[in-house]
């Protein structure tokens, strides 16, 4: 055996993947060949350094707290009545993709005669069955890729859109007073144009009847997640609702199952009252997690609006089978847009989510 032949087998030998028939001659060669010995030794050094480098890799000090926060946020968001249909049925996904593509074709002017937008709503195309809640885009859905080696997360696979989906917080068509939402019934082109936002340029000019137009402008959500442990979950929840009422906050109770053990309350509170409400809620028990963040949702709003308009434009042209699903998506998007609109700091509101838990 010469070095060229040996080099082809060295790593298989090193990994114990070579049968004795080939390993014997190779061993004999390596024992007498300084070049091959050096080659192996050099590789061992490389591996040693790689492992040393690996040993030095440590996550940030608050890594576990960050994971916990993500889980908490995910659990809370999944429990929200706004939770969208999670449909992983491939047939529905494909059908929806087709619908979205048709809708985009329509929105881009193939049907309506409008002009092509510079930034088509990529969110809808990446995963048409996935409509994230406001601020949830970092919690990506289970990938639909070919590699299925790992069990995928399938919350309620194949489930129909929940009833709550059809009943958003404020029903479409009844915007709150002072809200910058315009109800339009447009048949002719260009009778109303919304303000241009980052993604709102070159909008399709013809909108379907009943399509709501939300103005594109800067929007930020200020939200606090407060996890409080108390042995009196129900009593604390009642108190929290009293505090919220005093603060003029809108409250939602989000059931998580056993109400004696845990309950989530979500408040949309006037900015001026938010700090007072937070301190009252903190006093309900032991604060085990707290995080307040401000998030710019301007772009998210624009993307959702594009998607909403595209789906709305397609609503009347699809068959009844796809239509029910499409309507659920439209209602979901409309509710999300409404929430982003009315719960922003620009609308004078903050969001406080309280997770009351019994000690484990």
């Amino acid at each position: 055996m010469n070095c060229r032949q040996a080099e082809k087998l060295l790593f298989l030998w090193r990994d114990g993947r070579l049968g004795e028939k080939r390993a014997g001659p190779l061993r004999a060669h390596v024992n007498t060949c300084k070049h091959c010995q050096r080659e192996l030794a050099k590789w061992e050094e490389v591996v040693t350094v790689l492992r040393e480098m690996n040993a030095l890799l440590v996550p940030e000090a608050d890594f576990s707290a960050q994971v916990r926060a993500k889980i908490t946020e995910k659990v809370v968001r999944q429990a929200l009545p706004l939770a969208r249909p999670r449909i992983w049925n491939w047939k529905k996904a494909v059908a929806t993709a087709a619908v979205v593509l048709l809708a985009l074709a329509s929105a881009w002017g193939i049907i309506s005669g409008g002009s092509l937008p510079q930034n088509p709503p990529s969110v809808a195309l990446e995963n048409p069955s996935y409509v994230p809640l406001p601020g949830e885009e970092n919690l990506s859905p289970p990938p639909l890729g070919p590699n299925k080696a790992v069990p995928e997360v399938q919350e309620n696979p194949g489930e129909k859109p929940p009833e709550a989906e059809k009943e958003p917080l404020a029903p479409p068509g009844r915007p709150e007073a002072g809200q910058e939402v315009l109800q339009v019934a447009l048949e002719k082109e260009g009778s109303l144009e919304n303000e241009k936002g980052s993604l709102g340029q070159d909008k399709p000019k013809a909108l379907e009847e009943g399509t709501r137009v939300f103005l594109n402008k800067e929007r930020n959500l200020v939200s606090t997640l407060l996890e409080v442990t108390t042995s009196e979950v129900a009593a604390a929840a009642a108190k929290a609702q009293d505090f919220a009422r005093e603060a003029g906050a809108k409250a939602q109770v989000i059931p998580l199952g056993n109400e004696e053990e845990q309950i989530v309350l979500r408040f949309v509170v006037p900015h001026s009252q938010a700090e007072k409400l937070r301190s009252q809620l903190e006093a309900l028990g032991r604060v085990t997690y707290q995080k307040t963040e401000r998030k710019d949702v301007t772009r998210e709003f624009a993307v959702k609006q594009e998607e909403y308009q595209a789906l709305k434009a397609q609503e009347s042209t699809v068959g009844s089978k796809e239509r029910a699903y499409l309507e659920a998506q439209i209602a979901s998007l409309e509710a999300q847009l409404q929430a982003l609109e009315t719960e922003s700091i620009e609308a004078g509101k903050e969001i406080v989510t309280l997770w009351l838990k019994a000690p484990s």
Binding site: F11, L12, D15, R17, E39, K42, W43, E45, V46, V47, T48, V49, L50, R51, E52, M53, N54, A55, L56, L57, V58, P59, E60, F63, S64, Q66, V67, R68, K70, I71, T72, K74, E126, L139, S140, P143, G145, P146, N147, K148, A149, V150, P151, E152, V153, E155, S360
Partner: protein, 202 residues
């Protein structure tokens, strides 16, 4: 490596939705998952995101985990699966731009000069070699890099790697072979010897 019984108990409690228990699991396994994530992504920000996403996915899929399997390996499978799906989705590789190492934006890589102790010159050379190694690893095509990391750093068998990557053992062999060859080419200065490095023990 990790206390088996403790892990099993924590997994069982986590499967019942006990977040405190799961946080303990995160603390036990965070380094293992983060290190793999860093080796795959090549930078701290993406490594942090990937590792967190892996734990999040672990929590939500924990009910499907058989508690007689190795929890660490399962976490690694989740991590690799997320990484591969991310790569396939983006259809691009995470190459770091040449010259971006140790830049002012910085801290792409952990600097360990101070921790190395001893001769500062030697420590610096060791650090430079690590940076060159990291750069070489990051520049590998992502499938070769994944196979190489799982084999040489994590020590998984060809069969385990094939299961994680959803490919045949033959494909693993081929990716490892190509990965090693490419890495060697990128570290020519080391394999062919250089006056500065000759005789140094890394």
């Amino acid at each position: 490596m990790f206390p088996l019984e403790e892990t099993k108990t924590l997994v069982a409690r986590s499967q019942q939705g006990d977040l405190e228990a799961f946080e303990q699991l995160v603390l036990l396994y965070q380094k293992k998952v983060y290190a793999l994530s860093f080796n795959l992504t090549g930078n701290q920000v993406e490594a942090q995101d990937l590792a967190q996403e892996a734990f999040l996915r672990a929590f939500t899929s924990l009910k499907g985990f058989r508690n007689d399997a190795d929890f660490g390996t399962w976490l690694h499978r989740l991590t690799v699966n997320l990484w591969i799906n991310g790569q396939q989705r983006q259809k691009k590789q995470f190459f770091l731009l040449p010259g971006s190492f140790g830049s002012a934006e910085g801290e792409e890589f952990p600097r360990e000069v101070a921790a190395a102790g001893g001769d500062p010159q030697e420590a610096l050379e060791k650090e430079e070699f690590r940076i060159a190694m990291r750069q070489a690893l990051n520049e590998l095509p992502w499938m070769q890099k994944t196979a190489l990391v799982l084999r040489e750093i994590e020590g998984y068998s060809y069969e385990e790697i094939a299961r994680m990557l959803g490919c045949s053992v033959g494909t693993v062999k081929s990716r490892l072979n190509r990965g090693r060859r490419t890495l060697k080419e990128k570290l020519t200065f080391f394999f062919n010897g250089s006056p500065a490095l000759e005789g140094k023990e890394f």
